[in-house]
């Protein structure tokens, strides 16, 4: 989905325009508010905005300028208690939420999607203001995808069937798919609204209630969505949204005894801490963590597509994607040409003011992230990888990093092993299929992978061999709501989106009744 919308040049190179993309491109241009009003800065509990219990706040920064753009309530352990209590009340047996017809739960999600669509231009501007991603991405990718996800889940509540079981003996047995209960959900800063919707969708569809912690860098669109949640008519307490930091606010959610399930999207490092903490109370856990995803380009590919897609796979969203194609393996025969074309493409990449229409790349999210990226670039240089373009900070205001390409990268370089989460592309060389599969899998991660080839057989064999939750063939970053997403190995546990995600939000109850006589 993202790839369809974003790779303009690839589209020109013959990708068929989809109806969705076509309609997006024919729409009137939105009026862009470069400094959108920040309307909601408090915690959302029981459908009301409240101050944090200790009245403390934290600063929210515009990463394009480094300026403070809002002071937002800092959720603490006490606030988590309050939110969990609200969620618990909403989940009480016999409550409005528990008694609601499944289709009515779906209708609320449809309504929320409609309200986000209504306010699309404002929310897109707010997202860009807070996150730094280009406005055209916020407007054409983040907001429409969030809407699509909510609408997808809206169709599920009345379709989640249990089973009647062919049990032996004089019994009648069936399963019910019941909501797990109160879920705690912790989301990151790279796709603030999208990941909020990935979390709200299954939790509402299955009938759970939730306490969501927004990332402390990017709480603004989440808090605005909270207002839309109240407007849509969700009963109080069904969705509670907190802003706060990881150790206190996030930690309190994970540790809370009434929270039955924790869903976390973020780094593998934090994911392990959360997993260990949740294990103490055998909480259900879904984790969507980091990656070092291989992108394998065979000599028999369509080179134009492969170059553009590989560029997109890495640089999209300033390289701040958990599934970024950050190890680009290119077959020896076309290696030099691929490198040369990738460098050309990267040189054209326009970095700058995210509200500028021609901008392809905005700032990184924070000074800290920028420093980390620059440090990894240095490590690449020191280790002997060849820096072909970029490698430095852009300007001295905001957190911009030049689009950077390394060739002659070895598998054991830090830049080929660690998640950079920035605009730094590593191009590696390979000779044979077996070799590249082995090298591609030689990582603790397993989130995504891709293959570029025109050979049907090769496409299937390689995609079967790759140890990753998503494999894209001749495309990258397809995020259709119907497709599951999640990691093998240390890239996470469980799947988001798609029918599979519903399993992570339901408990299966098997009811067995003794009856007088069973027949077929």
């Amino acid at each position: 989905m993202f790839s369809k919308l974003l790779c303009r040049q690839v589209v020109n190179h013959g990708f068929r325009l989809t109806t969705r993309a076509a309609s997006a491109s024919t729409q009137k241009k939105p009026v862009v508010e470069r400094k959108p009003d920040v309307k909601y800065q408090k915690l959302f509990i029981n459908n009301e905005f409240v101050d944090s219990s200790n009245r403390s706040t934290f600063e929210v920064i515009n990463p394009a300028t480094g300026d403070v753009i809002a002071e937002v309530a800092d959720g603490s352990e006490k606030d988590v208690d309050k939110a969990v209590k609200a969620a618990k009340d909403a989940f009480r047996l016999g409550s409005e939420w528990r008694r609601m017809d499944p289709a009515a739960r779906g209708a609320l999600l449809y309504k929320l999607a409609d309200l986000i669509e209504r306010d699309r231009a404002y929310i897109a501007a707010l997202e860009t203001y807070n996150n730094g991603k280009p406005f055209k991405d916020s407007y054409n990718v983040d907001i429409p995808h969030s809407i699509a996800v909510l609408r997808y889940y809206a169709g599920w509540p009345d379709k989640m069937n249990g089973k009647v079981l062919p049990i032996s003996g004089d019994f009648f047995a069936y399963t019910r798919r019941e909501p797990i209960g109160i879920v705690g959900q912790i989301i990151p800063w790279n796709f603030p609204l999208i990941l909020l919707c990935w979390k709200i969708g299954p939790s509402v569809a299955t009938g759970c209630t939730t306490v969501i912690k927004l990332d402390e860098h990017t709480p603004l669109t989440g808090l605005y969505t909270a207002k839309l949640i109240a407007e849509a008519g969700f009963p109080p307490g069904v969705i509670n949204i907190l802003s706060g930091d990881g150790p206190h606010c996030g930690g309190s959610i994970v540790r809370h005894p009434d929270v039955a399930k924790v869903a976390f999207t973020g780094s593998t490092q934090v994911g392990k801490i959360i997993g260990a903490e949740a294990a103490k109370m055998v909480k259900r856990t879904t984790l969507e963590l980091g990656g070092k995803s291989p992108n394998i380009v065979f000599a028999d590919c369509d080179l134009d597509t492969a170059v553009e897609m590989s560029h997109f796979a890495l640089f999209f969203n300033q390289g701040q994607c958990c599934c970024a194609g950050s190890r680009t393996y290119v077959e020896e025969k076309i290696y030099d040409e691929f490198v040369q074309r990738s460098v050309e493409r990267t040189k054209q990449r326009k970095v700058g003011d995210p509200f500028d229409e021609s901008t392809e790349q905005g700032p990184q999210i924070s000074h800290e992230q920028m420093d980390k990226i620059l440090d990894l670039i240095d490590s690449g240089k020191r280790a002997g990888a060849k820096l072909l373009v970029g490698g430095e900070r852009v300007g001295d205001k905001g957190f911009f990093v030049q689009p950077t390409v390394f060739c002659d990268v070895n598998d054991d370089h830090r830049i080929a092993r660690e998640e950079i989460f920035g605009p730094v592309m590593q191009i590696l060389k390979f000779k044979t299929t077996d070799e590249v599969i082995e090298r591609a899998n030689d990582t603790d991660y397993g989130l995504a992978a891709s293959v570029f080839t025109k050979d049907l057989d090769k496409a299937i064999v390689v995609s079967n061999g790759l140890r990753a939750g998503s494999v894209w063939v001749n495309t990258y970053d397809n995020f259709d709501p119907v497709a599951p997403f999640g990691g093998f190995k240390q890239s996470g546990l469980g799947r988001e989106k798609s029918e599979y995600s519903l399993d992570s939000y339901t408990e299966t109850k098997c009811v067995t009744m003794k009856i007088s006589q069973r027949n077929s």
């Binding site: 109806t19 289709a103 049907l456 064999v461 119907v482 069973r518």
Partner: protein
């Protein structure tokens, strides 16, 4: 007939007023007849009332010239092909009748074989592999469906009046049908991006997967008892799977389907995806069943015609068939039932929609221990049922659909009397205009009587007595039908045993006709094949394609 009391004591006067059994009670006067005040008898002094508003009711309930019926504008009377309106190829039209009056509402273009051919061509073109419809993303299809549902809700006031005018069901019932129809379309819109094929673990040098592909051109033939709802049940799964449609509404009730066709166009469906051909069974319906270029036919109607449809489908191009046919559905009232509740469920089970309901609970089996009381209370309730002008908000039961149904029902009533069943109430026409029949109850009905074996499709409740549960299950299953069944009991084990042993596509425990969009619906035995509604409903609208790729 009347009574009087002379007293100055207010409370005593009111006490007399309450307790005297008479149609008119005069206090401190006598014989005070006035035009405004209804007049008529209790007991053997007569039925009904003259004078006053009540006096009107005796007449207007059957009245055609009701102003509301006249206010309903008829907007579409032609054949809908390729999102355009067409005249019939043979230049003929047929009359559409208002069943409340027997009078003609309008003439509608009569589609026959040539028109069906034209519609199929349009549909085929819309189904071309390169057509916009085939290239739509799933979500785009879902959006069109949701738009259509929104339009149904937008026009619910107009559509419900049109449905009532043409079908005779009460406006309130029509509204309920339309809102349920919109929900059905929304429900299936939600399925569009959730119909998943599978990947299959074949040998290690194989990649095997299935695709669920639309069947193609679907002929859909629907009845007159729930015109809009049957249309929605057909459109929902067919469109969700990406098929194209040639729909034939019943010749008795084409008007709402034609209006809905205009909403299909307004919603933005590409031309040819939905085509509506009004016409009769022998010519238009048959042309669909035998058509060589229709890939699937779905039919809802009588068993007799269902058999013909299946035969024609097999003889022509072996098109896929789904059938939702008649029933003679049992409702079993156990001795432990709450009797008031059971009486109300049984009443609703049979009399809903003037009993023109394929699932009608038309064999009410009642345990001998509560049989007499059940009859007495059911009669009481049936007598209270308000029969009359469907535009009147108080009306519970409108007319039967047409003269031939009306005559058929009356002849069943006669057969029951002859066979020795005891007529407890009703049993005759109501009023003298239109096709109204009084809610009728027979007690002492035996399994071999015609009214206990054949589908009456009219407001006739047949109450049968049983003594043991083994016996009643056998009797309930002793029919060639198997559409619905109900059981009223407080006993868990008994409820589940019945649910297991009754041979019917739907079994309702402590309820009846609990049909909802998520739950499959269809018949065992000669009540049909395939299922409508729910996930199962989709299965009748896709072909499974298995793809095997050898890795070489």
């Amino acid at each position: 007939l009347a009574a009087g009391v002379i007293t100055k004591d207010l409370s005593r006067a009111l006490q007399f007023v309450e307790q005297l059994q008479a149609g008119s009670v005069w206090v401190n006067q006598y014989g005070a007849l006035q035009f405004q005040a209804p007049f008529g008898g209790f007991k053997e002094s007569g039925h009904g009332r003259e004078l006053g508003r009540y006096g009107l009711a005796e007449y207007y309930e059957m009245s055609s010239s009701d102003s509301q019926a006249r206010k309903v504008e008829i907007k579409y009377t032609q054949i809908f092909i390729n999102n355009e309106w067409h005249k019939a190829a043979n230049g003929k039209t047929f009359p559409v009748i208002n069943p409340s009056t027997g009078e003609e509402i309008c003439q509608v273009e009569e589609a026959t074989r040539v028109d069906v051919d034209k519609a199929v061509k349009a549909a085929r073109k819309a189904f071309d592999i390169e057509s916009p419809w085939r290239k739509y993303e799933p979500v785009a299809r879902a959006n069109l469906m949701r738009k259509f549902a929104t339009l149904l809700r937008r026009d619910v006031d107009y559509l419900s009046k049109l449905e009532t005018l043409n079908n005779g069901k009460s406006v309130e019932d029509s509204k309920g049908d339309i809102l349920a129809s919109a929900d059905c379309i929304d429900y299936y819109a939600g399925w569009v991006d959730k119909i998943t094929g599978e990947t299959i673990p074949g040998g290690c040098d194989q990649m095997i997967f299935t695709r669920h592909e639309p069947i193609g051109v679907c002929g859909q033939i629907i009845p007159w008892n729930y015109p809009i709802m049957m249309m929605a049940w057909k459109f929902g799964p067919a469109l969700a799977c990406g098929n194209v449609i040639v729909l034939k509404p019943a010749e008795q009730t084409p008007l709402t389907a034609l209006y809905c066709a205009s909403l299909i166009k307004e919603a933005g469906f590409p031309p040819g995806v939905v085509n509506v051909v009004p016409g009769d069974g022998p010519q238009c319906g048959n042309a669909i069943s035998v058509h060589e270029d229709i890939d699937k036919v779905a039919f809802t109607g009588s068993v007799e015609v269902g058999k013909k449809v299946q035969e024609a489908a097999a003889k022509s191009n072996l098109k896929r068939v789904s059938l939702e046919l008649g029933g003679k559905s049992p409702l079993i009232i156990c001795e432990d039932a709450d009797i008031d509740y059971a009486v109300s469920v049984a009443h609703r089970a049979i009399f809903t929609n003037a009993a023109q309901n394929c699932t009608a609970g038309s064999r009410t089996f009642v345990h001998s221990k509560i049989y007499d009381e059940f009859i007495a209370r059911s009669v009481e309730l049936a007598k209270k049922r308000v029969v009359g002008d469907p535009f009147d908000p108080d009306t519970e039961q409108g007319p039967q659909i047409n003269d031939s149904q009306f005559q058929k029902i009356l002849s069943y009533i006669e057969s029951a009397k002859k066979d020795g069943a005891k007529l407890e109430c009703g049993g005759e026409r109501a009023g003298n205009k239109g096709y109204f029949i009084k809610p009728t109850i027979f007690s002492g009905v035996k399994d071999n009587m015609k009214i206990a074996r054949e589908e009456i499709f009219g407001p006739v409740m047949s109450v049968l007595k049983f003594d043991s549960y083994e016996e009643v299950i056998k009797r309930a299953n002793g029919t060639s039908f198997g559409l619905g069944a109900g059981v009223i009991t407080k006993d868990l084990t008994r409820g589940l045993t019945f649910a297991q042993q009754l041979q019917a596509g739907s079994v309702w425990v402590n309820d009846y006709d609990a049909v909802c969009n998520q739950a499959p619906f269809g018949g065992f035995k000669q009540s049909g094949h395939g299922r409508e509604l729910g996930r199962y409903g989709l299965e009748a609208y896709y072909e499974v394609k298995t793809v095997v790729i050898k890795l070489v």
